[in-house]
Symmetry: C2
Subunit: 162 residues, 2 copies
C-alpha cells in the first residue's frame, strides 16, 4: 500500500502542481490585463472614446509618421475597423495625416498637440501602475516579467520589441 500510494503521489502530484501553476498564470494574465486597461478607460470615458481609439493614439504616438498599413499590421484588425476609428480621431483633431512625399499613396500619421496631450495622460496613468508594481517587485522580477511576456509573443512582434 505505501508503495502504491508513493508511486501514485510521485506521478500525480507534479502533474497536478504543473496544471495548477499554469492555471494560476492564466488567471494572473486575465486579472492583470483587465486592471491595466481599466486604468486608462476612466480617462477615455471623459474624452468620449474607447479602447480602440486608445490603441491607435498610443501606437501613432509611439511611431510618429507611421503609415496606415503598418498600423494595421500592429493592431491586427481590418482596415474597415481602423478606418472608422481613425476617421473619428481625425475629425476631432487628435490625429493628422500627411502624404509621404516619397510615395504619395502612403498617409503618414501624427498626433496633434491635442492628441499628444491625451496620449501623455493615458500613458502616464498606465506607467504609474506599472512603475508601482515594478518598484514593489524589484529589478530581478521585472526582468523575469519581461522575459516571460516576450516568450508568449509571436516571433515577428517579438523581434520588433526586443
Amino acid at each position: 500500500m505505501p508503495e502504491t500510494a508513493g508511486r501514485t503521489k510521485l506521478k500525480a502530484d507534479p502533474l497536478f502542481l504543473r496544471d495548477e501553476h499554469l492555471r494560476q498564470a492564466i488567471e494572473l494574465l486575465f486579472f492583470a490585463y483587465r486592471d491595466f486597461t481599466d486604468t486608462a478607460d476612466r480617462i477615455l470615458e471623459i474624452d468620449g472614446m474607447g479602447r480602440a481609439h486608445h490603441r491607435v493614439i498610443y501606437f501613432v504616438g509611439r511611431n510618429p509618421g507611421i503609415t496606415v498599413g503598418d498600423l494595421l499590421a500592429i493592431l491586427k484588425i481590418t482596415k474597415q475597423s481602423l478606418s472608422r476609428v481613425l476617421g473619428q480621431l481625425m475629425d476631432e483633431e487628435y490625429i493628422r495625416q500627411a502624404s509621404d512625399p516619397e510615395d504619395r499613396r502612403r498617409r503618414r500619421l501624427h498626433l496633434t498637440p491635442k492628441g499628444a496631450d491625451l496620449e501623455a495622460r493615458l500613458t502616464a496613468r498606465q506607467s504609474q501602475l506599472l512603475a508601482e508594481a515594478f518598484r514593489e517587485a524589484g529589478a530581478e522580477s521585472v526582468e523575469g516579467f519581461r522575459t516571460v511576456l516576450l516568450g508568449i509573443i509571436n516571433d515577428e512582434d517579438r523581434a520588433r520589441l526586443s
Copy 2:
C-alpha cells in the same frame, strides 16, 4: 557648457530610460495578451463561441458550484451581459445549474461533460503556450513574472489569487 550638458544629461537620461522601459512594458502586455487570447479563439470559432463564453466556461470550471453573483464579481460585467452568454451555454448544454439547497435563491453553476471537454481543450492550448514560454525563461523569470502581475492586480483579486 560642459556643466550644463552634464547636468541635463544626468537629469534627462534616467527619466528617458525609465519612460522607455515603461513603454516597452505596456507594449509587452498588449502583444502578449493578444497572442495569448488568440490561441483560444481558434478553438472557440469551431464551436461557434466567443471570448465571453470562454471566460464563463473557464471560471465555472475553475470554481465548480460558483453562484451567478460570484461569477459577476469576477468578470465585472452586468448581469444582463452575463445572462445572455450563460443562457446560450445552458441551452447548448455546456453548463447546468442547480439551486443551492441552503439558499434556494442561488443558482450554482457546473460544467457538463461537454462543457468540461471544451474547457479542457481551451485551457490545454493556453497552458501549452505558457508552459513553453516558462520553459524558455526559466524558473526565476517565472517567479518574477508572477510577482509583477500580482502587483498590477487590485487588492481584492490579488488576495484571492495568492
